[in-house]
């Protein structure tokens, strides 16, 4: 129990630190949303300064930070100047779409990477393993941006997948199974891009750690006892190799979030990515801070999940935690 408490405390500290950091950065900003407004001749200077006071941009930084923290405690994330609405509901819709994309991609990537890595490790150094290693090495040098754009061009030229948006225009008229199919079709392209971008790293790590575990004496003994091969690989070797892989799970959440930001913009998926880009260009301060913080929340959530998984999977951590 104390283990979880400590991990949660660490997560809260991290979130707090990120919010402080982004606020500090924002204090260094040479311009803000109202500077652009001032250039607009239809808006009087009095209105602009009144708005500035209304949004408390004239107050010193610590006061603004305290106000913002207070708002966060009440479940709000400040106010969007450009949308003229609270930030939280704005972000929420987008975050749902981002989560749908990243969670699907993450599950899919791991579901493919685990058997593929184990399969490759079982044939360590032989022809199929070499072919797979070469393929993953090649994919590793193709950056996300290049991959996403390439896939998009492929989709446009073949017409296999729709090239943007969440659903088709006639979504409301479709029946429930058709709706699901439509959503899946739209999800396919960004998910493929994300999976292909993360898969090589995952496969390589699974392969390396399972191959290392396969070398251990206890597995040779198990083999000598005549335990079936599949049970040996998935029941024994994978379990012994789990520790670094679970840590990688938390880490891969971070790379996926970065990757999805880009993929969303490229493939016009209405997630956090396009919103964040838009608000950066519009100098919509609180939306940027909220978006960064929300992504941090996902990341921390993923890491916390990995920690819990680790606690469950690795008895060494359990004993170390209870000994304290």
């Amino acid at each position: 129990m104390r283990y979880f408490l400590r991990r949660t405390l660490h997560a809260v500290f991290l979130l707090f630190g990120v919010s402080l950091l982004t606020f500090l950065f924002s204090a260094l900003t040479p311009g803000n949303y109202f500077d652009e407004m001032r250039l607009n001749p239809q808006i009087s200077p009095e209105t602009v300064s009144a708005l500035r006071i209304q949004y408390q941009l004239d107050r010193p930084l610590p006061v603004r930070y305290a106000h913002w923290l207070n708002a966060v405690a009440h479940g709000e994330l400040g106010f969007s100047f450009a949308y003229n609405s609270p930030v939280a509901p704005l972000l929420w819709v987008r975050a749902r779409n981002t989560l749908a994309l990243t969670v699907t991609a993450m599950l899919l990537a791991w579901l493919i990477a685990l058997p593929l890595g184990v399969w490759s490790a079982a044939r360590f150094g032989r022809a199929p393993d070499r072919v797979l290693s070469f393929t993953t090495a090649t994919l590793l040098v193709v950056p996300d941006l290049v991959l996403a754009l390439g896939l998009l061009i492929l989709a446009v030229r073949t017409g296999w997948f729709p090239t943007g948006g969440l659903v088709s225009v006639n979504f409301d008229e479709l029946s429930a199974p058709q709706k699901l199919r439509d959503l899946g079709f739209h999800l396919a392209l960004p998910v493929i891009a994300l999976v292909v971008a993360t898969l090589p790293m995952l496969v390589r790590h699974v392969r390396a750690s399972v191959a290392e575990a396969l070398d251990a004496p206890f597995l040779r003994a198990a083999l000598g006892h005549g335990i079936p091969r599949s049970k040996l690989l998935y029941g024994y070797a994978l379990r012994a190799a789990a520790n670094p892989l679970i840590s990688l799970f938390g880490f891969s959440a971070g790379t996926l979030l970065s990757g999805s930001l880009l993929v969303e913009v490229v493939m016009s998926w209405p997630g956090l990515g396009p919103l964040l880009l838009e608000s950066i260009l519009a100098r919509d301060l609180y939306v940027v801070i909220g978006g960064v913080l929300l992504s941090m929340l996902f990341l921390v959530g993923g890491n916390l999940f990995a920690d819990i998984l680790l606690y469950w999977a690795d008895p060494r951590i359990r004993t170390a935690a209870s000994a304290k």
Binding site: L14, G17, V18, L21, T22, F25, S26, L28, T29, P30, G31, S133, A137, L140, V141, V142, P143, L145, V146, L149, G150, L152, I153, V156, R157, T163, R204, H205, R207, A208, A211, G254, T255, L257, S258, G259, L261, L262, V265, V266, L276, L277, S279, I280, L281, R283, V288, G291, V292, S295, M296, L299, V300
Partner: protein
């Protein structure tokens, strides 16, 4: 292949790649901003060896493209006049490496313009723009990596040398930077810097933003090295002789971190080239008419370009050989500095 061989081979590959980009003026047939409004979105031209009558030519040649009747972006080969490809021709003036004025180009043609990779919306030669754009992207990556490594080395040495609360504070901040997804960090940093700036300022801004993102990992690695080095006998002896902190850091501790910094450089440079590409692609980086790999790709955000003009995607592929080269270099450097075989640990084997 021995480790030393591997290292030199990857270095040669990288030097050659950078050489091509650095001497863009020579390898590019035209000036990157020279427009030809009559030929927008010209597709890549094909080089031929055999003409319509079945005659074999010694010199590769191409047919000039002309607009098809009643179309604004469909071209066809004008098979009446074959134009031979000429090597070492004289063309647009440029300065080699920004210093030596020259008009010599690797190849070109007389009588018609040759566009091996097609043209963009303004009829600018795509190959020339990719080569010149590489200068901006590579320079941003290299400068960004330099800033990051300087920052990382300074912070890492400070944290490792003066342990205690300073170490604690610096490492907690580093943890924050490590935890944030790098693209979000890049965005957040860019968000709070001015938007409307001149191209040169924009370039410097990109370098600063990229440079400030990645310092945490090198800083932690350097700190680890410093922690162990500062207790070594030769450092303690120097301190016993009354050497100052600065002297110790400069002459005894910093040289020990060199191998870590080198490896980090090989890992960071390609990442930062990509970071520049990403920022410019999204319109937050280097603006037109300067070309960089990122803003060359920005036209792909228009659906019509995506559908019809696939050669606008080619700048994206330019980064791939650089990625390969730097990854190979990084793994060769790591193999050299770590006694055990890296290949078995990570499964990374680029050869």
């Amino acid at each position: 292949m021995t480790q030393r061989r591997k290292l030199t081979n990857w270095l040669i590959v990288l030097v050659a790649l950078h050489g091509i980009i650095a001497a863009a003026g020579f390898f590019a047939p035209y000036d990157p901003v020279e427009q030809d409004r009559g030929r927008p979105y010209l597709p890549p031209m094909h080089l031929h060896m055999v003409d319509g009558q079945g005659h074999l030519h010694v010199r590769p040649f191409f047919y000039p493209l002309r607009l098809r009747e009643g179309s604004f972006d469909q071209y066809e080969e004008d098979t009446a006049g074959a134009v031979p490809l000429r090597l070492f021709t004289r063309g647009a003036a440029y300065r080699l490496l920004g210093l030596i004025p020259s008009r010599l180009h690797l190849f070109g043609a007389v009588g018609a313009r040759i566009h091996l990779l097609g043209t963009d919306a303004y009829g600018r030669d795509q190959l020339s723009r990719i080569l010149y754009g590489g200068q901006v992207s590579l320079l941003a990556g290299l400068l960004g990596a330099t800033v990051t490594l300087l920052l990382g080395a300074l912070i890492g040495m400070a944290a490792g040398y003066y342990s205690g609360w300073r170490d604690e504070l610096l490492m907690r901040v580093a943890e924050l930077f490590l935890a944030l997804p790098w693209l979000y960090l890049l965005f957040a940093l860019r968000a709070f810097l001015p938007l409307a700036v001149s191209p040169l300022e924009a370039f410097l801004l990109v370098v600063v933003v990229i440079g400030m993102v990645g310092w945490a990992r090198p800083a932690r690695l350097v700190r680890g090295v410093v922690l162990s080095v500062k207790e070594r006998d030769f450092v303690r002896a120097a301190r016993g002789f009354g050497a100052s902190d600065f002297y110790l850091l400069r002459h005894h501790i910093f040289p020990e971190t060199a191998s870590v910094l080198l490896t980090q450089a090989a890992i960071l440079v390609p990442q930062f080239i990509l970071a520049e590409m990403t920022l410019s692609f999204l319109g937050l980086g280097v603006p037109e008419p300067m070309s960089s790999w990122g803003n060359l790709l920005a036209t792909l955000q228009q659906y019509s370009v995506l559908v019809s003009y696939w050669w606008m995607y080619l700048p994206a592929l330019a980064i791939v050989p650089f990625f390969l080269g730097y990854l190979g270099l990084a793994s060769a450097l790591q193999q050299r500095t770590t006694p055990y075989k890296l290949e078995e640990k990570t499964g990374w084997n680029p050869s």
